[in-house]
Symmetry: C2
Subunit: 318 residues, 2 copies
């Protein structure tokens, strides 16, 4: 495993692809690999691109890749959005457009097959981002639909969260107000040549006015107009990301944020491990027997779980 880790850190793309596939398949040996890679992580900058299906996130990502590549940066893209052309879920034209990046060795694109997985998306995304980070990618772009709790968690793990809206979807902005507004670092009004672009800009401005937290904040999310297909506004978007990065890295909070992230990493791994071990220590047959009792309503699940937990933790009495 040490050898695999070394190859991966050394830039072996096949080894990276294999690691990502193993993580997606939740192979047990991945922990060993992630352990070896941990000391090489923490260098990549993670950008989240979030918006409803059809908002044009992938066209933006496509143009952003080109921009970062021209700047000599290596870019990894993780597509969590099932409708993304990166995931193969789009019309042919989009997919062909992405093709050229697939042929560039400085670009690594992978989509997650984990939709529907139990508790898997956030964990897989996080681990795949770690692996890309250890493999030396400078920029990691994570594309999500951004609705639902898992996706909010994914957005929270990014360094800069870009939220994309399109003109004419009033309901969309409604939904954003309810969940995503708080975590956006930059807003993009994409397809800005469509009617309603001004209204979308104004709606976002008004929503921000209402957000008390922003009134004295050091960073006020800019709103950028783009046309993903033509690339209009992309330099401004890249610039805004750079500004946000400069500000967050400058502030004293940056080190604190990184430390808190490491602590959360630890707690997550700890909780997963405790879960695994408790199942093993509880014993398949012992837990199955209690579950049967619950299914027959002879026991309620709370009492049954307490019995099992007491046995596992070797705790006597009540």
């Amino acid at each position: 495993m040490k050898e695999r880790a070394e190859k991966l850190v050394g830039g072996d793309i096949r080894e990276l692809a294999r690691a990502v596939r193993d993580i997606d398949d939740e192979m047990p040996h991945c922990t060993e690999l992630l352990r070896e890679l941990y000391c090489h992580t923490g260098r990549a900058y993670i950008i989240g691109i979030t918006g409803a299906p059809g908002a044009g996130k992938s066209s933006l990502t496509d143009k952003m890749i080109t921009n970062y590549r021209n700047d000599g940066k290596r870019v990894a893209v993780i597509a969590v959005d099932p409708t993304s052309p990166f995931s193969g879920g789009a019309i042919l034209g989009d997919r062909i457009r992405m093709q050229r990046h697939y042929e560039d060795p400085g670009v690594f694109i992978r989509s997650l097959a984990t939709r529907g997985h139990l508790g898997g998306i956030t964990k897989s995304t996080r681990n795949i981002a770690s692996v890309c980070d250890a493999a030396g990618y400078d920029i990691i772009i994570i594309e999500t639909v951004g609705v639902g709790q898992d996706e909010v968690e994914i957005v929270e793990m990014t360094d800069t969260a870009v939220v994309v809206v399109v003109p004419g979807l009033g309901d969309d902005i409604q939904a954003i107000k309810a969940g995503i507004l708080e975590i956006a670092d930059i807003f993009v009004v994409n397809k800005a040549d469509r009617p309603g672009a001004d209204k979308a800009m104004n709606d976002l401005r008004a929503a921000m006015e209402l957000d008390q937290n922003l009134h004295n904040a050091a960073w006020r999310p800019p709103i950028i107009r783009t046309i993903g297909i033509t690339g209009e506004g992309i330099p401004e978007l890249i610039g805004a990301i750079a500004d946000h990065r400069a500000l967050t890295v400058q502030t004293a909070d940056w080190e604190k944020k990184k430390k808190e992230k490491a602590k959360r990493d630890f707690m997550r791994v700890f909780n997963d491990l405790v879960k695994d071990w408790s199942l093993r220590l509880g014993g398949e047959r012992g837990l199955e027997a209690l579950a049967e009792n619950v299914a027959e309503k002879a026991l309620d699940p709370y009492t049954a779980a307490e019995e099992a937990a007491k046995r596992i933790f070797k705790i006597d009495g009540g």
Copy 2:
């Protein structure tokens, strides 16, 4: 707590409202209450209404409530969708329309304030549904946006899952193909007076044709046209739900399904409990010290977690 449980089962609405609020606030004593209530659960029929914001789910729910009430059924509504008028997230007209149900003692409506909660939505929804079940509601309607993993888990806990689409949102159907198609028991094309309704029906039919699992299935999801605002198609929808219920209850799978659900309930409670206890046994200071080591990169999170877990489970050596 026994007293509170008895009152709640006896139909005391204040006690029910208090229980729901406590669950939403994740008060620790809720476990005790849920334990008392468990033997009273398993009677309600749970219907999921899922669709994008703006699909008109709430108008449908509104009309369904009226229909079930005319039939003498008691109805509980849990709104997980942040844009639902039931959650207060809608224009005034919608909210006024809902008002009359709020005044009906046979209807209990509650929205979840838990958007953004860590791991909370699914658990809260499940627990609130249990409490409404124990309180004797015949029908429980859960309204969700249906994107993201948590929401898919919520839809999976319903007995009949209704997926709502509206004409003219091609992207919407794209998204459905990727995640929701597999779990829909009934499709509704709402706002069926809009142009594109026929196309939406055809798209759904075509998507179903492609789904191999449906070819020999005992239940083939019907597609129902509705106009939520006028109530057109609602009797057909109610009828389809009754058909689906009759079929699932008839089949030998029903008992098996209920048992599996009880077993999953047990495993979930068990996992939560193990998590809580392990944190207590790990000790705040002990875990904090390990987390600090991880933050300083002196330890990787995997090794640190293993150390903590070994101590908790009283396991020696490697």
